[in-house]
């Protein structure tokens, strides 16, 4: 279906999964987003987005280790798939191309 389409929040979460590598699970992503760009996001929203990304085949998941802080529950660790990586790269390129088209003059004035 809409393979090419990736929402803003989806892109953010996908990027975070890429950044966190082996430690990408729901709560960690919430904390990471808060630390890196100061945005407070809902845990549930992140989860839903992660599952959607999984449906789209951009990430895959597996159960990771348990910690005491989680009351003995295992983490669901997400990893970016090749398709996800390709998608991120394509997005970046798209944005760069578009950015180049913005007149740079304004920069010099300000």
């Amino acid at each position: 279906m809409q393979k090419e389409y990736l929402g803003e929040f989806e892109e953010l979460v996908l990027t975070m999964v890429g950044i966190l590598q082996e430690d990408a699970y729901g709560n960690a992503i919430v904390t990471e987003i808060k630390q890196r760009i100061g945005r407070v996001v809902n845990l549930s929203a992140v989860h839903v987005t992660l599952y959607r990304l999984e449906d789209k085949g951009l990430v895959k998941s597996g159960m990771g280790g348990a910690t005491n802080a989680r009351g003995g529950r295992r983490k669901r660790i997400f990893t970016v798939t090749n398709a996800g990586l390709a998608m991120l790269r394509a997005k970046k390129e798209q944005q760069m191309q578009l950015w180049k088209l913005v007149p740079q003059l304004k920069m010099s004035i300000s």
Binding site: G26, H47, R74
Partner: protein, 867 residues
């Protein structure tokens, strides 16, 4: 240390809604977040935990599990559809038989559904329908009338407090409406009062429903009529002139057209004040009386009230003056007044009184048609079942492989059900198109206009699609379970027992039983119709032309008659009032012999000395009227039935009745009503009154006669229309309803046999195909074509014969039931069944033989070389 944890209920809630495979990951994250927040305060953390849990309560999480399963299934579903369509495509002949047959069946039942629903829905749209009753009357034994006396509604509300309101309606046919120079023609108008609109809830577009028709000379019109008359809707205050006398009525209200069927078919209501006479007469039927009961009162209350009213008013005011000694004596007599109560919603289908305000429907036809449509639908479904199971072998390998690959039986059943639903939905689409065509045919054949087309009502389209869904499941159920019962190991080894033959045989027998039943019924119906149309009516009804309203000619009537009588081709002519088969003029008189306790009311024709000869009625005793004899104005001629009733069989001629009436002649019984009824007593009296003028003509003289007659009429009274009819048309009209029924039954019988043969055709094709090798070997060994065809046809012949055996007693029962209603009817002979048997056998043989012959003619080397 007290163990601090998140609230238990939140956990439980999460476990309840969260899909199992997500649960651990989510709960872990939640607990982690909770623990991180603990240092900000336990309370706060707990509250936040709960909030977070609730945030997870969203579709993306809750339905994830299910949607995931579904999304896996879509791939399989796609495969199922693909396989279904491939199968349909691969065997186009079978597919078209199943789809086509089912489509015909569904279309047929759709049309009947529309018809039945339309008939059933009459008057159900009025909100107070369950409290509205109409009170009809009978008196002097001259018939039961839908209308009743004016006085009833004056007295009843005083005697019975259960009546909320009541209204009288006087119906006027063929009303002319004049607006300035324009003249319009309406089929009917109701003279009524304001209570009408309290009982029947019409939607008023303008005007006050509480005030309309309160004053004299007020009118209410429907939106449709307003547009017809004035080309706009806001016509309140306009004046219309109604009837010959051009009485002005001011329009006081405009109502919306009823959105449903109603037996009250009029577009125009007028104040009835001028028609209310205030005369206390019980034996009258001037008005249709409708009452609205209070909510707490029932029909029983109304009937009781009418009984009381009968005792307190009718008997003293009407019975006693007639010479009845006691209430019981009066009550028992046929001549007494009786009331007939009908619930509003029963009037259209169940009330069969004389002079209904509009012609009613036929309840038994509705039942017959519904039953027939169900049968036809079953026939079509049976085709489907038969062909699917018969060809099971073709699907056996697929089933085997699917099973070996680990598909569960339930999923296979699902697959086959899906296939049958696909097929039935395809037939549904075809059926909707067919139904449109059937509707047109039905309208042409029966003359009954069937409400809207199917498409106009999206609700019914939806209904029909769910209906076809249902048919799909029903007819797919048996094949699905049968097909999925194969054992994969056997099937894949190539051993397929096609089994189920006996079940298929039962179905074929069922199909033919129904078809043969319908065919024999249709044949008998045709016979009866033919019998009625050609039966000797006891008089000569052919080529008698009657000119109506001859009284309009006033004094020039004799001259008119004499002039026309001299035209070529005119055999006889007679002035009269009333004629056989017609209900335009009804005259009843009471007659009494000294022997009789109470007078008998007998239908009476008034005619001159030529009346008997005009109609070719046969005198069996006595003499005809004689113009010269003065005493003949006090004479009467009776038919044989009347002689019986008056109890003068031993010496009819010269018998003296009350008022010094002398019987001078007896005519043999002749039919003057529908052949459904036994010949009733009739009397004929001399008349000076001239209402109609009848001519007995030669057939070829009719056109020229009509032309001259009309010219003369126009010369004499140019303002009045020249109206005429033929006596044999009277009987044609009486027959027309029966004819419609006959045509409909014919149609269904054809349809049934067609569907059955379609199924048989398919089955025979399959059998022939299955036995190609056997046939090949037989041919090699020297079997003749005839032998092979006979062999293949034997089985089907046997089945059809069996069906014949079952259906004959059934049809005899059904036919007898139908013929019961006819006083004069055909006798059931063996002929009908012989024709039906030979016919259905012949048709079945044709259906089967195509494939049998094909199989028999095939070159054995073609079928055997691959072995």
């Amino acid at each position: 240390m007290k163990k601090i944890g998140p609230p238990k209920f939140a956990h439980r809630f999460l476990r309840w809604f969260c899909p199992l495979d997500l649960y651990e990951g989510i709960e872990g994250d939640l607990i982690e977040a909770f623990n991180e927040e603990l240092n900000e305060g336990e309370r706060k953390a707990r509250v936040r935990f709960v909030i977070r849990v609730f945030r997870f309560f969203q579709p993306g999480i809750i339905f994830r599990n299910k949607i995931k399963v579904d999304s896996m299934n879509t791939i399989l579903l796609q495969n199922y559809f693909k396989v279904a369509f491939r199968n349909l495509w691969r065997s186009k002949a079978y597919s078209s038989i199943t789809i086509g047959g089912l489509a015909i069946g569904i279309a047929c039942s759709l049309v009947i559904f529309l018809f039945v629903y339309g008939e059933w829905s009459y008057d159900k749209g009025f909100t107070k329908a369950d409290r509205i009753y109409r009170i009809g009357i009978s008196f002097f034994n001259i018939g039961q009338f839908a209308s009743g006396p004016e006085e009833l509604l004056d007295v009843l509300p005083k005697e019975f407090n259960g009546i909320e309101t009541a209204t009288r309606i006087r119906k006027e046919r063929d009303v002319t409406i004049k607006i300035k120079d324009l003249t319009f023609q309406e089929t009917s108008a109701y003279y009524t009062d304001t209570a009408y609109f309290k009982i029947f809830n019409y939607t008023f577009l303008s005007g006050d429903p509480k005030k309309v028709l309160v004053g004299p000379n007020e009118a209410v019109v429907t939106q449709k009529l307003a547009i017809k008359l004035f080309d706009r809707e806001d016509v309140v205050g306009e004046v219309i002139e109604v009837g010959k006398k051009a009485v002005p009525f001011t329009i006081a209200g405009v109502v919306k057209d009823l959105g449903f069927n109603s037996h009250l078919k009029t577009e125009l209501w007028l104040s009835n004040q001028s028609l209310i006479t205030g005369e206390p007469a019980w034996s009258s039927s001037a008005f249709y009386n409708y009452v609205l009961l209070k909510e707490k009162n029932t029909e029983t209350d109304l009937r009781q009230a009418l009984d009381l009213l009968f005792e307190h008013h009718v008997y003293p005011e009407s019975g006693k003056p007639m010479g009845f000694k006691s209430l019981e004596d009066y009550k028992k007599n046929d001549m007494a007044i009786k009331f007939y109560v009908h619930k509003l919603t029963d009037i259209y289908l169940k009330s069969k009184l004389n002079f209904e305000i509009s012609p009613g429907g036929n309840e038994s036809n509705i039942y017959i048609f519904s039953a027939v449509s169900v049968f036809i639908l079953i026939l079509a479904a049976v085709n489907f079942i038969n062909l699917t199971t018969a060809r099971a072998a073709r699907r056996a390998k697929e089933v085997g492989i699917r099973k070996a690959m680990g598909t569960s039986r339930s999923k296979l059943v699902g697959q086959f059900l899906l296939e049958s639903i696909t097929t039935s939905l395809l037939s549904m689409i075809l059926a909707l198109l067919l139904a449109e065509i059937f509707l047109k045919i039905f309208e042409v054949v029966t003359g009954a206009l069937l409400l809207d087309t199917i498409w106009r009502n999206p609700y019914s389209v939806g209904l029909f699609f769910s209906f076809s869904f249902f048919v799909g499941i029903l007819s797919g159920l048996y094949p699905a379970f049968y097909l999925t019962s194969f054992r994969p190991v056997k099937v894949l080894k190539g051993i397929v027992e096609t089994g189920g033959t006996s079940f298929r045989n039962v179905l074929v027998v069922f199909q033919f039983t129904v078809s043969i039943l319908l065919i024999s019924c249709a044949l008998v119906v045709q016979n009866q119709l033919h019998f009625m149309a050609s039966k000797d009516l006891g008089f000569d009804q052919k080529n008698i032309l009657t000119i109506d309203h001859i009284n309009l000619l006033k004094t020039s009537d004799e001259a008119f008659k004499n002039e026309l009588s001299n035209l070529p081709g005119v055999a006889r002519s007679s002035f009269h009032m009333g004629e056989p088969g017609s209900k335009r003029i009804l005259t009843f008189r009471t007659y009494q012999t000294p022997k009789m306790e109470h007078p008998a009311s007998i239908f009476t024709y008034l005619g001159d000395e030529n009346f008997l000869s005009l109609n070719g009625m046969r005198l069996v005793m006595g003499r005809d009227f004689n113009k010269a004899s003065v005493s003949d104005t006090a004479s009467v001629i009776l038919n044989e039935a009347a002689v019986q009733i008056l109890d003068i069989v031993s010496e009819p001629i010269g018998a003296v009745l009350d008022q010094n009436l002398k019987v001078i002649g007896v005519v043999s019984d002749f039919h003057w009503e529908s052949l459904r009824n036994k010949i009733a007593p009739v009397a004929i009296m001399m008349t000076k009154e001239k209402a109609e003028l009848g001519f007995k003509l030669e057939a070829k003289a009719i056109p020229s006669f009509l032309k001259t007659a009309e010219e003369r009429w126009k010369q004499l009274i140019p303002d009045e229309p020249f109206q005429y009819h033929f006596v044999d048309d009277n009987f044609g009209e009486l027959l027309s309803k029966e004819k419609v029924f006959g045509k409909a039954i014919n149609f269904f019988a054809l349809l049934a046999i067609f569907i059955s043969c379609l199924g048989l055709y398919g089955l025979s094709a399959f059998t022939a195909e299955q036995r190609t090798k056997e046939i090949g070997i037989r041919k090699v060994l020297g079997a003749s074509t005839l032998h092979i065809v006979g062999m293949l046809n034997k089985r089907f012949t046997f089945l059809v014969l069996l069906a014949l055996g079952i259906s004959v007693p059934l049809s005899i029962y059904a036919i007898e039931k139908w013929l019961e209603d006819f006083a004069y009817r055909v006798e059931l002979g063996a002929g009908v069944f012989i024709i039906t048997s030979l016919g259905s056998l012949f048709i079945a043989w044709i259906a089967v033989s195509y494939h049998s012959l094909k199989a028999a003619w095939i070159n054995p080397s073609d079928t055997l070389k691959y072995e």
